[in-house]
């Protein structure tokens, strides 16, 4: 135990809560991130669930982790490795220690390191710290289970209920370590358990006990830390995962467009939470159909779009394979739908719970015929909201299916979401056929953007037949005329090419970078963190991150041509690089490709990019 206690200022810290799936690690992590966010810290979280639904208690496969990264300034990722690891049992220490930095503080519940626990976690001896090479001075070893029982002895709760509060003791200890204001945590619990005040009181009591334990013993810590944000962005915030933000973006777009929101979907990891979320909100008029298969999910969305709704279908890569024919139907019928692809590891069933960016070329090209359609990729959990909103706006205003790409990492991760005001968002104006065109209108007449008009059933005088067969540009009747097909193919391509997307933004040393980092979608945080790290080391580095992939921003060639060295870093074998090389003459980037199913590791990026600079 350290004699004196220093208060150290930290720029950022990552805390990983780990334990059995039932130990409430996510709740502890959520409260810690909320408490930190409330004082203005920036936050990023990521859950790490076990693959098994119900692994045996205390087993290595049953460990679940929840990492929270907080920073005085912006944090972009949940952090490569943690500064504090909470391990609620032996299995958690065994499996999670690899995510801890070499000098990390380890908090363990010694009551869960008995002989049976050690055996289940495959420790060979009782010297579990020694076995793992952990310096005991860095360990806060606390009999958490016993202390929770003692703390709640007078509560009248049964032991099982008491033990559910163990996570709060660990949280209290972490709050002490980082000098957090407990009142915020207390308020959080009072609201969460508003209907069960007894549960709230017990949790509050245990947090306080954990905090006091740290304070009274100074534990084994040499310091406590402060993370103070100097440039706060005032406002009201909530914690949001990428999948929830995506669902919210759809809801917001439907409201703005004045349309009913329809989701046709089939459960698939890691996209299912979007179906769950939207299914809750019937009071907003959201209609969700859990369809018989992926095909019906997309096909029913096409039908819903025809009938006048904002129609969405959600899935992951294997589902995109199955939906591709129905997506193509929307391409040729020029009806708006949004297809959400929450990417996971492939091919086939692949790595269902893991994250990759390997569907990009499938999104761009995975359909028969000339089948151009917009592709948008969300860059962070909170960005999923804007990305979903913009995907809906683009689909509705340009009468086209749009693929919205996220990935398992972005979908399950969370960040602090500043509550949006819909008044600040651009209007959504679908090109409804003007009434005065009655009598002269045919289905493929186009407006100035090359977009055909939308005539929703129910309007007298605008009856028409759409379909998967090529149509005559003038009459809308089935046509196999060679010139007409050539024309229609060009018109469909031009319609997509004409869509305006924001220019590609260059961050960092935009004027004199030695290396431009290029990426897309969910790797934004890691690439940004790598750039920051390299700049802190004195290197000149810039980042250009793509959110709009088809059509590409107008300044793409200009940006990519401006720097001597460019590296395209992506979680696939080089799909964005291939697409950019198709679209930009003489573009020959370096490539950094990892397909591990895991997020990038910032340090590995820094090493790889530094090596490119030194080449």
């Amino acid at each position: 135990m350290a004699e004196t206690l220093e208060v150290k200022e930290l720029a950022e810290v990552a805390v990983r809560f780990s334990g059995d799936s039932g130990d409430g690690m996510q709740l502890a992590g959520n409260i810690f991130s909320t408490v930190s966010a409330t004082v203005g810290n920036s936050i990023s979280t990521f859950p790490d669930y076990p693959a098994d639904i119900r692994a045996p208690q205390g087993s290595l496969t049953g460990v679940s982790g929840f990492q929270v990264h907080i920073g005085a300034e912006m944090v972009y990722t949940p952090g490569d490795k943690c500064d504090v690891l909470v391990a609620m049992n032996a299995a958690a220490l065994k499996t999670q220690y690899k995510y801890a930095k070499p000098n990390a503080t380890i908090i363990i519940d010694t009551d869960s390191f008995g002989a049976a626990d050690l055996k289940k976690a495959a420790f060979q001896t009782e010297d579990y710290l020694g076995e793992m090479g952990i310096d005991p001075d860095r360990v806060i070893a606390c009999p958490i289970t016993q202390m929770v029982k003692d703390c709640l002895a007078d509560s009248g709760m049964d032991v099982k209920a008491m033990l559910k509060c163990r996570n709060m003791f660990a949280l209290g200890l972490v709050c002490w370590l980082f000098d957090r204001d407990l009142d915020i945590a207390f308020n959080f619990l009072r609201e969460k358990f508003a209907k069960k005040p007894g549960v709230a009181d017990a949790n509050i009591k245990v947090i306080q006990a954990g905090y006091d334990y740290g304070h009274n013993t100074h534990s084994s810590a040499q310091n406590v830390y402060r993370i103070e944000t100097k440039h706060k962005v005032p406002g009201r915030y909530m914690d949001i995962t990428g999948n929830k933000a995506t669902a919210y973006g759809f809801i917001a777009a439907a409201e703005k467009a004045g349309l009913k929101l329809y989701l046709g979907s089939y459960p698939i990891t890691p996209a299912t939470d979007v179906l769950h979320e939207l299914s809750k909100h019937k009071s907003l008029g959201v209609t969700t159909v859990q369809c018989e298969d992926e095909i019906a999910g997309c096909a029913s969305a096409v039908g819903a779009s025809f009938a006048g709704a904002l129609a969405v279908t959600s899935t992951s890569g294997p589902g995109i394979c199955l939906k591709s024919e129905a997506i193509n139907l929307a391409v040729i019928m020029e009806l708006p739908i949004v297809v959400l692809d929450v990417q996971r590891g492939g091919p086939a069933t692949g790595l269902p719970t893991k994250s990759e960016q390997t569907d990009l070329l499938q999104a761009l090209f995975g359909r028969n015929g000339e089948s151009p359609m917009p592709v948008i990729a969300a860059t962070s959990p909170t960005d999923c909201f804007d990305a979903a909103y913009n995907a809906c706006k683009m689909a509705l205003e340009h009468m086209t299916p749009v693929i919205l790409m996220t990935d398992a990492y972005v979908a399950n991760g969370s960040g602090a979401f500043k509550l949006p005001d819909l008044a600040d968002y651009p209007a959504i104006n679908p090109p409804y056929v003007p009434e005065e065109m009655k009598g002269t209108w045919t289905p493929y007449m186009r407006n100035g953007n090359g977009v055909r008009y939308w005539a929703v059933p129910g309007r007298e005088g605008f009856q028409h037949i759409l379909g998967g067969l090529e149509k005559d540009n003038k009459t809308g009747a089935i046509s196999t005329d060679p010139e007409n097909h050539n024309l229609m193919t060009h018109l469909r391509q031009e319609k997509i090419d004409k869509i305006q997307v924001p220019d590609l933004e260059v961050l960092g040393d935009k004027d004199d970078a030695e290396l431009l980092i290029v990426g897309f979608g969910g790797t934004y945080g890691h690439l940004h963190a790598a750039m920051d790290e390299m700049r802190a080391q004195g290197k000149k580095v810039a980042l250009a991150h793509f959110k709009y992939i088809n059509p590409l921003p107008k300044n793409t060639a200009e940006v990519l041509g401006k720097y001597k060295k460019v590296v395209v870093a992506e979680q696939n074998m080089g799909q964005l690089a291939s697409w950019l090389r198709m679209k930009v003459d003489n573009f020959t980037p370096y490539k950094f490709n990892q397909v591990k199913g895991q997020p990038f590791v910032v340090n590995e990026l820094v090493d790889a990019f530094t090596a490119i600079i030194n080449k």
């Binding site: 966010a37 004082v39 019937k282 006048g308 759409l466 998967g468 009747a477």
Partner: protein, 334 residues
């Protein structure tokens, strides 16, 4: 508003002369006119195949979509726009082979669609392969030595999926076809109409025994709810229950009187006898059943979706996006 068949007609059909689709199309135009729903409040949605060309000859809204998906596409259209009268049109390949999954699930959900199954027991558009309704041993381009598989019987599939409406007509029988189309439209929920139709090119004569008026008089029975199951050129035959099955009896023979004849109950929840009627075939010595075989009320999917939205809306306190945000744990940074 009063309509005529002309109000629903469009274009010049391009099916082969004599194709059953021509007859069916004329009956559909007539039925729609008699039903009287505006063409602009009507949508006809088909998949792919000869018969799926049908929407192009309708003055309604419509889509001629992709192979097999018509029922799924129609489901999406109906659920977001329940006031739209949706007709889904498929052939036996489109509806029961590539689209079999959507066919059974539309029936299970009981979405309020009028589902037309144009059954000619052959793939015509791809020029003559056997279909899932072709009989065992059927010789076609893809089964030159005869098929070695049993066909689906559409009613069995519909009933197995808990379908609540099944009717059958012969394409050449305009009166019978119009009658079942109107009944299907009246029925709330998924309503399957099997249309027996000829393919003059690749499967000529497949429904020969009932294709002519004379043939039907001899070989078919028109079933009608509440009426005894009597048939024959002189209405001399009837159906009776025997053990677990049905039997054909001659009225006046062996002491059988009209009173002994089974009375058709299309509204009976238990589909056992309805299925027996539907599965009767000339080969087994029975008449082919035509008309509305099953017509049972049940909650429809689209009504239930709407009702649930209304119910939840009345209970929840948030009704727009701004209110939704407030349901979350929110903190304020000052």
């Amino acid at each position: 508003m009063a309509y005529t068949a002309q109000d629903f007609k469009k274009g010049q059909p391009r099916w082969c002369p004599g194709c059953g689709d021509h007859f069916f199309l004329a009956s559909l135009h007539k039925a729609m006119a008699e039903i009287g729903i505006d063409p602009w409040n009507t949508a006809v949605i088909s998949g792919i195949g000869c018969s799926s060309r049908l929407p192009h000859y309708m003055a309604t809204y419509g889509m001629n979509t992709i192979h097999g998906r018509a029922a799924a596409i129609a489901t999406g259209a109906k659920v977001v726009n329940p006031s739209l009268e949706v007709w889904q049109v498929s052939g036996d390949g489109d509806g029961l082979a590539i689209g079999g999954n959507h066919f059974i699930h539309a029936n299970r959900r009981n979405i309020n669609l009028n589902m037309i199954l144009l059954n000619n027991r052959i793939y015509g558009l791809t020029k003559g392969q056997y279909s899932p309704t072709s009989p065992r041993g059927f010789v076609s381009k893809s089964s030159p030595y005869g098929t070695v598989e049993d066909p689906f019987r559409p009613a069995e599939l519909c009933f197995g999926a808990r379908g609540h409406f099944f009717a059958r007509a012969v394409a050449t029988d305009a009166q019978g076809t119009v009658a079942i189309l109107k009944a299907a439209q009246q029925h709330k929920g998924a309503a399957v109409c099997e249309i027996l139709q000829n393919c003059v090119i690749f499967n000529d004569g497949t429904h020969e025994s009932v294709y002519s008026k004379e043939g039907r008089a001899k070989n078919a029975i028109y079933v009608e709810h509440g009426k005894p199951l009597i048939f024959g050129e002189n209405r001399e035959y009837g159906l009776m229950q025997e053990g677990f099955g049905l039997k054909v009896v001659k009225i006046g023979e062996n002491g059988v009187t009209e009173k002994d004849i089974l009375v058709h109950d299309a509204h009976c929840q238990d589909n056992t006898l309805q299925l027996k009627l539907a599965l009767m075939g000339n080969g087994d010595g029975f008449p082919v059943a035509l008309g509305v075989i099953r017509d049972v009320d049940a909650p429809t999917y689209d009504d239930s979706v709407t009702a649930q939205i209304e119910d939840v809306s009345s209970k929840k306190k948030y009704h727009n996006f701004a209110e939704l945000l407030e349901t979350n744990d929110i903190w304020e940074v000052k």
